[in-house]
Amino acid sequence: MLNEREFISTLDMLKYEHLDVRAVTLGINLADCSSHDLDVFKSNIRKKMTTLARDLVTVCNRVGHKYGIEVVNKRISISPIAVVAAAFSAEQMVDIARTLDDIAREVNVDFIGGFSALVEKGIANGDKALIQAIPEALATTQRLCSSVNVASTRAGINMDAVLLMAEAIKKAADLTRDSDGLACAKLCVFCNIPEDVPFMAGAYLGTGEADAVINVGVSGPGVVKKAIDRALEGENRPDLGRIAEIIKRTACKVTRVGELIGREVAENLGIPFGVVDLSLAPTPTVGDSVGEIFQSMGLLSIGVPGSTAALAMLNDAVKKGGAFASSYVGGLSGAFIPVSEDLNIEEATRKGYLNIEKLEALTSVCSVGLDMVAIPGNTSVDTLAGIIADEMAVGMINSKTTATRIIPVPGKKEGEKAHFGGLLGHASIIGVKNADGVNHFIRHGGRIPAPIHSLKN
């Protein structure tokens, strides 16, 4: 029998510490929908996706209600469109994007992820068409997310693709200049992209996955912060080993909730359960922040010296707790540091504690990368490509996932504000060195070779 303290601490996590199931994402393989005829392809994907996802939202709401925990977002991830729609041109890819947006509305999901390509080693015809289509596809849809993997530890960095993505980001920003470049908030450039991420904008269904699968993303930065606060108040000077232990235990509890909900949703839908992704994913709400955890751990702000060490410990403890709680932990599983989506991190950039260089350093130990970073609108394609290449190098050498989700905000300068709305929040635009300059290193093109796996130091 559970004791009173266990009941109350669980209730507090759910009710007052912002523990929620951030996303239940239904992965759908679209390989069997392929056709050379665009109308046939569109009809095939609509039929398959609406059939499989018809009850997704209802079931998520019912299960959430039963356990008293909200499933905040219901989403779909699909096979990379560059692969399953490889036969089509860029214009036709835009048409497919609009169809996907329409399907998202029909089944009432927040986002569909998978307008994606994997080009770390080379660019096929379908990949080229998709990358060309990205700016217009994202500017003319609301619920579609796109990701392109341009690097991996095994393949190196495809610098031609990096440059193409920098151009796509600039164009997407320009096409949505009225909303501060919002299209770029739905676009991630990856190194070592996982095949089972339930979180947007990087979600897609890998080619090694089942025909349909339920992946769950659980969050809970508020729960971790409160657990640390309680330990600091109630214990006699806990050392960092003890604090890491508390984070680990808390992550374990949070992951167990995710698996419970995910398995029940999967069972109700008759679809196999895939993974739990335990990521500390903040929202622009006080008490639901990763940045606040740094302050609980004793730092003035995220960004000051000590931040990389703190984040390394936090990220590792979260992964350890998650891995203990479930045999099927996947996705990104760690701590996100999305600037605009976290009030505290946004404040750190505004106050000057956190600049793009320190953000890049942090991404060597966080779970993803430069996320929701607003930079000046006059940033050149070359400089943008340089930022992406740097971030890809961090991932490639360290055998980890890294990504960029950068928004060059049209018409705005360093220090001004960009507003994206909702969960995407707002951001102070941070400065970039040589923002509007050229970069001959990037313009060499080609592929940076894969790194050596011995002689590590």
């Binding site: 029998m1 559970l2 009173e4 266990e6 009941f7 109350i8 669980t10 209730l11 996590m13 759910l14 009710k15 209600h65 039963k66 356990y67 008293g68 925990i69 509890k253 167990r256 909730v257 698996e259 419970l260």
Partner: protein, 184 residues
């Protein structure tokens, strides 16, 4: 063997369980299940006992009264109605209802009435009333078994409505989420 339920209530002090179980042992009775609790200084115990068919409840009771004289206990012994147990078994799902709110008279009554009105059984109830207006110091936790035939949506809405009428914040959740978080 026949089965009886024995209840013991009285001021808590060392030796109550030892006294009761000693009498049962000397009369060849077997304790199948037992639970006890203490509220402030008052002890309450209930046990399920199997006893020889020729042993009279009154004889057992007298023996206990002699053994525990001076303990100032109220002891009852009644036959267990086995048939009723099976009759009452309907498939159920375990849920936890918790309330927070200012301490005032009648809150246990209002919530338990709402639960009873839906023919839902309370299997455990824990209340922590420390008084005052701080809701976090006044918490009730009901473990309930909801028959699968009960409409969960309507039931939970009705519970919330009645709780809100008396200023309580009420949550209802399937018990599995508490087990998942707290048990490995």
């Amino acid at each position: 063997m026949k089965k009886v339920i024995i209840t013991v209530i009285g001021p808590d002090r060392p030796g109550i369980i030892a006294g009761v179980s000693g009498v049962l042992f000397t009369h060849q009775c077997n304790i199948e299940n037992i639970t006890q609790t203490i509220l402030q200084s008052e002890f309450a115990g209930i046990c399920l006992v199997s006893m020889p068919p020729d042993l009279d409840n009154g004889v057992l009771r007298s023996a206990m009264d002699r053994e525990l004289a001076g303990f100032n206990l109220q002891i009852t012994i009644k036959d267990l109605d086995d048939d009723r147990q099976d009759h009452d078994k309907v498939p159920t799902e375990p849920f936890i209802v918790s309330t927070r709110g200012p301490d005032k008279q009648g809150i246990v009554s209002v919530i338990s009435k709402a639960i009873a009105d839906a023919c839902v059984n309370i299997s455990n109830l824990k209340a922590v009333f420390q008084g005052g207006e701080n809701p976090d110091r006044n918490i009730m936790i009901f473990e309930i078994d909801i028959p699968v035939s009960v409409d969960f949506q309507n039931f939970s809405e009705e519970l919330r409505r009645r709780a809100s009428d008396i200023g309580l914040d009420l949550n209802i959740q399937h018990k599995n989420i508490f087990d998942a978080v707290n048990r490995i």
